[in-house]
């Protein structure tokens, strides 16, 4: 009998069945159901069903992140509905508009543990693989149904193993690896698949960097993503208040069957950029260097964690944002923002001319920082679809925090290594 992949083991655990094979459809009982700003839709749906009993309120997590704070009276009413529902139903895991992006908040708070299965009303729920969990996105009706029944159907996915070795050259980051992979494999390169990252490089990454990896795997259509939990994972969970005996790590077996094994040498990479209007439209930054920008956005669940802001601050220290550019920085969470304030990172960014907003999804979800016709943003987020940040006639480029910061300084798309050379020369 051949070995099992992580995805097979995670779905066997969550469904209480054994010997599952890819393609089988089973009912799973997720450990956690995340809903973000979409929570009001779940509540309205539940009210429409006339149901008042929930399967397990402790498995429900709500975070008001996509539109925060309220912009319209409709938003305010939606938030109020969620707040009051959480209180009435005894939902303990509720975060209001001050907390930040749901994914990052839940991981920081210790609610995401290795081996567990988490569903969320957000495609980027693949991010939970950064802690060795099985995370996947679903619609709001499914979250509502799971609130009631505790279960939903899942197909056991094929797995693709992505082996990354070597060390990244200076100025190149995990975001660049993922953009290159997305460019090479395409927007549907991993559709329906579990993306397992392995090799020497992922094992060297921080949890924050693993989040960038697992988040962006979704842009190839992945069902979930996964980095093997290790001592780095355990230390992160220690800090999040999760005792090591509280979770059980699931590792793929030797000899597990993969649809495909892909290898990538990190040391051969240079900074990469996604150009409009699809994420898989990827070129080395030098091919579009010099493209004039109107705005730079450092934010989103892909790249607005503490180390992302720190990298941007290192590039921006002692420099100024170009006069014609608006630099918007939206920390991923209140904890990230607090740490960046204490360490001086926020001060450096403000000094350089950045506008710091409250934590949350912000401009990535089109809330604040929208563009008018003909404008161009370089963003550290994960999507560049037309109209996502305002006008359908505006353009979004995607890059790493270092590329974003360097581009903000020059006012044009810039290879961050150009500014590093400037310092040393």
């Amino acid at each position: 009998m051949s070995g099992k992949t992580f995805a097979q083991k995670a779905i066997e655990r969550a469904s209480g069945t054994r010997d599952l094979v890819p393609g089988q459809i089973v009912d799973v009982y997720p450990d956690l159901y995340m809903s973000h700003t979409a929570s009001w839709r779940c509540i309205k749906t539940l009210e429409g069903m006339g149901v008042t009993e929930l399967y397990d309120p402790d498995r429900i997590a709500m975070v008001m992140d996509h539109i925060a704070p309220a912009v319209t009276t409709k938003n305010a009413a939606d938030h109020k509905l969620c707040r009051e529902f959480a209180q009435r139903m005894g939902i303990r895991h509720f975060w209001d508009v001050n907390a930040g992006i749901a994914h990052v908040v839940l991981m920081e708070s210790g609610l995401i543990r290795p081996g567990e299965l988490v569903i969320g009303t957000d495609s980027h729920s693949t991010i939970y693989g950064a802690l060795g969990a099985f995370g996947t996105g679903v619609g709001f009706s499914e979250i509502t149904a799971t609130w009631v029944t505790g279960k939903l159907w899942l197909k056991v996915p094929d797995s693709v193993r992505i082996e990354i070795g070597g060390a990244l050259p200076p100025g190149t980051y995990p975001k660049d690896i993922m953009l290159r992979l997305i460019g090479d494999l395409g927007a549907d390169g991993l559709t329906y698949c579990s993306a397992e990252f392995g090799g020497s490089y992922p094992g060297s990454m921080s949890v924050s960097e693993r989040m960038t990896f697992c988040n962006l795997a979704m842009e190839m259509g992945a069902k979930n993503a996964y980095v093997e939990p290790d001592e780095i994972t355990r230390r992160y969970l220690d800090e999040a208040g999760q005792p090591r005996d509280r979770y059980q790590e699931l590792l793929p077996d030797e000899g597990a069957e993969y649809r495909e094994v892909i290898s990538l040498d990190a040391s051969a990479l240079a900074p990469q950029v996604s150009v409009p209007h699809s994420v898989d439209n990827v070129v080395p930054v030098d091919e579009v260097a010099g493209t004039r920008l109107d705005q730079v956005f450092i934010g989103s669940c892909a790249n607005a964690k503490y180390d992302d802001l720190e990298i941007a601050a290192q590039v921006l220290a002692g420099r100024k944002v170009a006069g014609h550019v608006r630099l918007i920085v939206t920390p991923a969470s209140a904890a990230v923002m607090s740490r960046a304030a204490a360490s001086g990172v926020l001060g450096t960014l403000i000094e350089a001319g950045a506008l710091i907003t409250n934590p949350g999804c912000g401009a990535c979800a089109g809330n604040g920082g929208v563009m008018t016709d003909g404008e161009r943003t370089l963003s550290t987020a994960n999507r560049n679809f037309p109209g996502r940040m305002g006008s359908y006639e505006s353009e979004i480029f995607l890059g790493s925090p270092a590329t974003a910061a360097a581009s903000a300084v020059r006012g044009v798309i810039t290879n961050p290594t150009d500014l590093m050379t400037e310092v040393s020369s």
Partner: protein
């Protein structure tokens, strides 16, 4: 139960049609199918919107509905009068959302390649066929669990029916 068929005039799209194009994020403050339908495919312009509203079937290439998990991408199509989507392949969350909101979604690459704008297309779920002017094409039948959800008009009606 009556045979499950869906059909109508086709509007044809290419590969990688994303959910931001199907229904832009700014309109997600609504869950009303009619209201959402007014803005379906808005980024592609008024001509495409008119063609979608006069169609009954969306036919697309690979990876239809990629991007966000927004369920309203399926609801907006239903609101616009779309009965079925036939594609070479679907992004997985869109496929779930389609089934869960009662929208027929079938993967059938040869049918998707054979259909032109304005063709009459019929999907027979029980028979596992897509009929087009160019011919009839087979697709693997739905697993029974999914077929039941669709037959009941979506996940929530299915749940209410089965809990009765």
């Amino acid at each position: 139960m009556s045979a499950m068929t869906a059909g109508g005039t086709a509007v044809v799209f290419g590969d990688n049609v994303n959910t931001d194009v199907i229904i832009p994020g700014r309109y997600l403050v609504s869950i009303d199918p009619a209201e959402l339908a007014e803005h379906a495919f808005e980024p592609l312009g008024a001509d495409v919107q008119r063609r979608v509203r006069s169609a009954g079937v969306v036919v697309a290439g690979r990876n239809f509905g990629c991007g966000s998990a927004r369920e309203q991408a399926a609801t907006a199509l239903t609101g616009a009068g779309i009965q079925a989507v036939v594609a070479a392949s679907f992004a997985r969350v869109f496929f779930r959302n389609a089934i869960n909101t009662g929208l027929v979604a079938v993967e059938c690459p040869p049918a998707a390649a054979a259909v032109h704008d304005g063709d009459e297309v019929t999907v027979d779920l029980d028979g596992g066929t897509v009929t087009t002017p160019a011919g009839t094409y087979q697709f693997p039948p739905y697993p029974e669990a999914l077929r039941q959800i669709l037959a009941d008009g979506g996940l929530i009606p299915h749940l209410m029916r089965s809990s009765r």
